[in-house]
């Protein structure tokens, strides 16, 4: 071949290799993985709004009554101080100025319910973050060791995991919760103990991730260059499974808030006089028909916190996992976040189903032009792709 081909004249046509090099030299903006993730996360509207909501909730709960809960912030009432019940404990919000004396009302012994709810939020968040931290740490440790070393280490660790899984979570958490009541450290100790019951999901996910990373060439390259297992796990494998870990941790936060609520409701969680959102609901369940605000306010905050943490987890997953399917530059909006599709897509889907029925295998096939009666749904190819 080379003997027949005349020498290639100097041309503006570059070979692929040269074109790539030129492109690299000219590219000036460099995005790291972290920057790309941040970019995608901030383009995810529900996640950003949820983050704002969560930060707002945290700020008011901390600044209003202070860390101690004794009314050291801008809200001067303590969550422990009793008083005279005014107007049957009805909320004064929007009635008596903007907030009034007791914006969320008072409980039966005259404690300020706003201060109590704020304290509940603080305690619930401490539990949530503590549980998430403890369970993620334990889960990552077990999963990474099992996945990397395989063999008997994996067998032992995963059987332990199985044993923890077969015990009902609530029973286990209740036992740990009851045990933690006798220990110093209060809510945080409780949180770490609950974490001992909830790490199993993370361990399994991390193990699966590590198992797939084991087969990657860059891990083989690191093994071949003589790197220590600790270096391979910490430097190569965990950073590459950070997506799974972070996302799982956020969902663990949401789950932990609900678990703490359940435990407190059953009486194994945060103990009085300390309070949490769950125990507020438990204490006031009998008042639901007569004084519903005692039920509604903590309930609303539980929903708000759990929902926004879930949305943040959603956003993180979309941002970290590049395999996530996304239609071009259009970001997940509110409708898609709640599982609602665009009207056009829904109509189009309905339309194609109707057409399929009329042209199904066992029926007469219509000539190409004739099956197109109704509105013109399928013609724009971009429109059509959206539902597949």
């Amino acid at each position: 071949m080379s003997s027949q081909t005349p020498p290639i004249p100097p041309e503006d046509v570059l070979s692929a290799a040269e074109a790539e090099d030129a492109k690299l030299a000219s590219a000036h903006r460099s995005y790291s993985q972290g920057q790309l993730v941040r970019r995608r996360f901030f383009a995810h509207k529900p996640a950003v709004v949820s983050m704002a909501v969560l930060v707002f909730i945290i700020i008011i709960s901390v600044t209003s009554i202070g860390f101690s809960g004794q009314g050291t912030g801008w809200w001067s009432k303590s969550f422990l101080a009793t008083g005279i019940t005014v107007d049957g404990g009805r909320p004064t919000m929007f009635n008596d100025g903007f907030l009034g004396d007791h914006p969320f009302g008072q409980d039966s012994i005259g404690r300020d319910y706003f201060a109590m709810v704020m304290r509940g939020i603080q305690q619930s968040l401490v539990v949530a973050i503590g549980v998430a931290f403890a369970s993620t740490f334990l889960g990552v440790l077990v999963g990474a060791l099992a996945g990397y070393f395989r063999g008997w280490i994996e067998a032992v660790l995963m059987r332990v995991t199985d044993v923890v899984i077969v015990v009902p979570l609530l029973a286990l958490a209740a036992v740990f919760g009851a045990y933690a009541q006798n220990l110093p450290g209060g809510t945080l100790t409780l949180a770490l103990f609950i974490g001992l019951a909830t790490w199993t999901g993370t361990a399994r996910l991390v193990r699966a991730e590590i198992l797939s990373l084991r087969e990657k060439d860059y891990v083989s390259a690191a093994v071949a260059m003589g790197a220590h297992p600790a270096r391979i796990i910490l430097k190569h494998m965990l950073p590459n499974s950070i997506g799974v870990i972070v996302v799982n941790a956020t969902f663990a936060i949401a789950a932990a808030i609900l678990l703490e609520t359940t435990l407190s409701y059953l009486g194994f969680g945060v103990q009085p006089p300390e309070t949490s959102l769950g125990s507020l609901i438990q204490n006031n369940q009998n008042a639901f028909t007569t004084r519903p605000w005692l039920f509604w306010f903590p309930g609303l905050f539980i929903i708000a916190i759990a929902l926004s943490v879930n949305f943040i987890g959603d956003g993180l997953r979309d941002a970290i996992d590049p395999r996530q399917k996304r239609t071009g530059s259009s970001r997940p909006g509110w409708r898609t976040a709640f599982g609602l599709l665009g009207r056009a897509t829904a109509e189009e889907r309905a339309g194609t189903q109707v057409k399929e029925l009329s042209g199904g295998p066992s029926q007469l096939q219509m000539p190409a032009g004739m099956s197109d009666h109704g509105p013109d749904f399928g013609h724009d190819p971009t429109d059509e792709k959206r539902d597949s």
Binding site: A16, L24, A224, G226
Partner: protein, 581 residues
């Protein structure tokens, strides 16, 4: 004038991405006549697959298509989803690249073939089964009546591709789109599949749109060629004209970049290549001066320096994979020697055990039997600390550029990682070494702070080579380092590789399935089949004067990018196979 079965008219495709719209195809038009094979060639990113997928409507969700695709005069893009679904399989069908994933592993082959027939009302029930058996016989599956009840994993890769082809022709399509149908297959299997496609085309008068990057396949199959670059057609015409007298400079470059298996007496065979040992000695001497970080001198190796031990030596090596305590031996009685500064090509088809050998040398797999000596020391038997010291003498380049660099490490950290692992140098000297190596692989030092995903495949492979050379190893293991690259990129990487080899003088075990690539680089060649050595010797002996019939078959099956020569080779190969049978 015959009507084209499939014609693309001014196709434009753009993809919406995070960073704005990307135009992948910019106005492409061409026709496929009945019974004609049109090959669309181009490198990755040229838009060849995207263009052809518009006919099937298989583009991802973020694509926007403009233009017209006519199938026998009917516009495909204006059809509804349901209409188009009826079209797929019945009028246009597809053969995919990867036969492993194109078949559903949990369904029997019979179910999948019958499904193809029933969906399009061709046949039902027992009749469909009979038709399926006929189809399998037609594509050359032996004992089709019993084997049709089997699952895909019970067939070999080539047979699976035959089944995929059987599904594609089940409803008598007018056009078959074959997207790199033989890229995942071994050369001998590739030749058989191409033979089959050729027969079917003549028998059924089907138009075939063949998408490929392999000019040899083009020469073997195509009637007409469309050359694409960056979403545009740069040249189109009959195959003889394009391959023998290309007009566009890009086509010429593409052809020039194809590595060629040289016949005996080719003028380009330099006499220099013969004197291997001489050069090896010279480069072994030259190793110390430029080896700034070559700290391997202690532990008794220094005493033996006067007679340099072979860089790598295998003595009666057997390798096995263990699964549930049962060992499957995949490599038997392996013996070879790689002298310092020498490149040994290890060739074979998939399943021959060539990559397993590379794994064992890297210490990723235990040696079951025999000795594997690196610089005279039996590596598997060494205590772990000494083995780690010995590992700095071995560099590695893997096949897949997408997987061989840690996506979370910046390039600078990737290149200096071996130094960090072996606790060598401080931050500044490491970075200096990284700059030096980037310079050696001809990349700007600004990429130090970039991440692998910002680089193309060829560039990443060059980074891999740089990382392998960080500690100035005496031995480099290259496991198919260019198989995943485009031809012109492959040519550039191979040039760079041999240049670096001459400069740094490392010995190399070069694993490849591509005989032409091995011919271009290696001093010695070893051919493996089913875990055993078939033939070994100098490159010239093995590739030009092959003694073993298996080597001859391999050589005969490799297609060359010249239609006339390829036609001649094809008949020769058939004669060879007939003689063997």
């Amino acid at each position: 004038m015959r009507e084209p079965v499939l014609s693309y008219k001014d196709i434009r495709v753009s993809f919406a991405t995070e960073f704005g719209d990307v135009d992948a195809v910019k106005g492409v038009s061409f026709d496929v006549m009945p019974g004609e094979v049109v090959a669309v060639v181009g490198e990755s990113g040229s838009g060849k697959s995207v263009t052809s997928s518009t006919a099937m409507g298989l583009l991802p969700e973020n694509a926007t298509v403009h233009g017209e695709v006519l199938l026998e005069g009917r516009s495909v893009l204006n059809m509804s989803t349901a209409e188009r679904r009826r079209l797929r399989g019945a009028d246009i069908s597809m053969v995919f690249q990867e036969p492993m994933t194109a078949l559903n592993p949990v369904l029997r082959v019979s179910d999948q073939l019958i499904e193809a027939l029933q969906v399009h009302d061709v046949a039902f029930g027992a009749e469909a089964l009979e038709r399926s058996i006929e189809l399998l016989e037609r594509v050359g599956i032996p004992d089709a009546r019993t084997r049709i009840r089997q699952y895909p994993h019970q067939f070999s890769g080539g047979q699976r591709q035959r089944i995929v082809i059987a599904m594609a022709i089940a409803c008598g399509p007018k056009v078959i789109i074959a997207d790199e149908p033989t890229t995942a297959l071994d050369v001998t299997v590739q030749a058989e599949i191409l033979d089959l496609l050729r027969e079917l085309k003549e028998e059924l008068n089907t138009g075939i749109l063949l998408i490929t990057h392999n000019m040899g396949v083009v020469a073997d199959m195509a009637d007409r060629v469309v050359v694409m670059l960056n979403g545009e057609v740069v040249e189109t015409g009959p195959v003889t004209k394009i391959l023998s007298h290309p007009e566009h400079p890009y086509t010429r470059r593409l052809l020039a970049a194809m590595p060629l298996l040289r016949a005996a007496g080719d003028p380009s065979l330099e006499p220099e290549r013969v004197s291997v040992t001489e050069r090896a000695d010279a480069s072994a001497d030259g190793l110390a001066p430029n080896g700034t970080t070559n700290g391997f001198s202690g532990d008794g190796a220094a005493g033996a320096a006067s007679v340099a031990p072979p860089a790598l030596q295998a003595k009666d090596v057997a390798l096995e994979y263990k699964f549930r305590r049962r060992a499957t031996r995949v490599v038997h009685d392996l013996n070879f020697t790689v002298q310092p500064g020498e490149i040994m090509g290890l060739v074979g088809e998939s399943g021959s055990g060539k990559s397993t050998v590379a794994k064992a040398v890297l210490g990723l797999l235990d040696v079951a039997e025999g000795e594997l000596r690196v610089r005279g020391m039996n590596m598997p038997a060494l205590p772990s600390k000494e083995r780690k010291t010995l590992k700095r003498e071995i560099g590695v380049v893997f096949q897949d550029p997408a997987a061989s660099l840690d996506p979370r490490f910046p390039i600078g950290d990737i290149i200096t990682e071996p130094m960090v692992v072996h606790k060598e140098g401080d931050k500044n000297s490491r970075m200096a070494r990284a700059r030096e190596l980037l310079d050696a692989v001809r990349l700007p030092s600004s990429v130090l702070n970039r991440y692998p995903h910002e680089l193309s495949g060829g560039q990443r492979q060059r980074i891999s080579i740089a990382r392998a050379l960080t500690l100035n190893p005496t031995l480099l293991i290259a496991d198919e380092p260019t198989s995943a690259l485009d031809v012109s990129v492959q040519a550039a990487v191979l040039d760079l590789f041999s240049e670096l080899q001459q400069h740094y003088g490392f010995a190399c075990l070069f694993v490849s399935h591509d005989l032409a690539v091995v011919d271009a680089l290696a001093h010695k060649v070893m051919v493996m089949q089913n875990g055993r050595t078939v033939e070994q010797g100098t490159t010239d002996q093995v590739l030009r004067h092959a003694k073993e019939s298996y080597t001859q078959q391999l050589l005969a099956a490799a297609p060359v990018p010249d239609p006339e020569v390829q036609a001649r080779r094809r008949t020769e190969r058939q004669r060879l196979l007939a003689a063997l049978a």
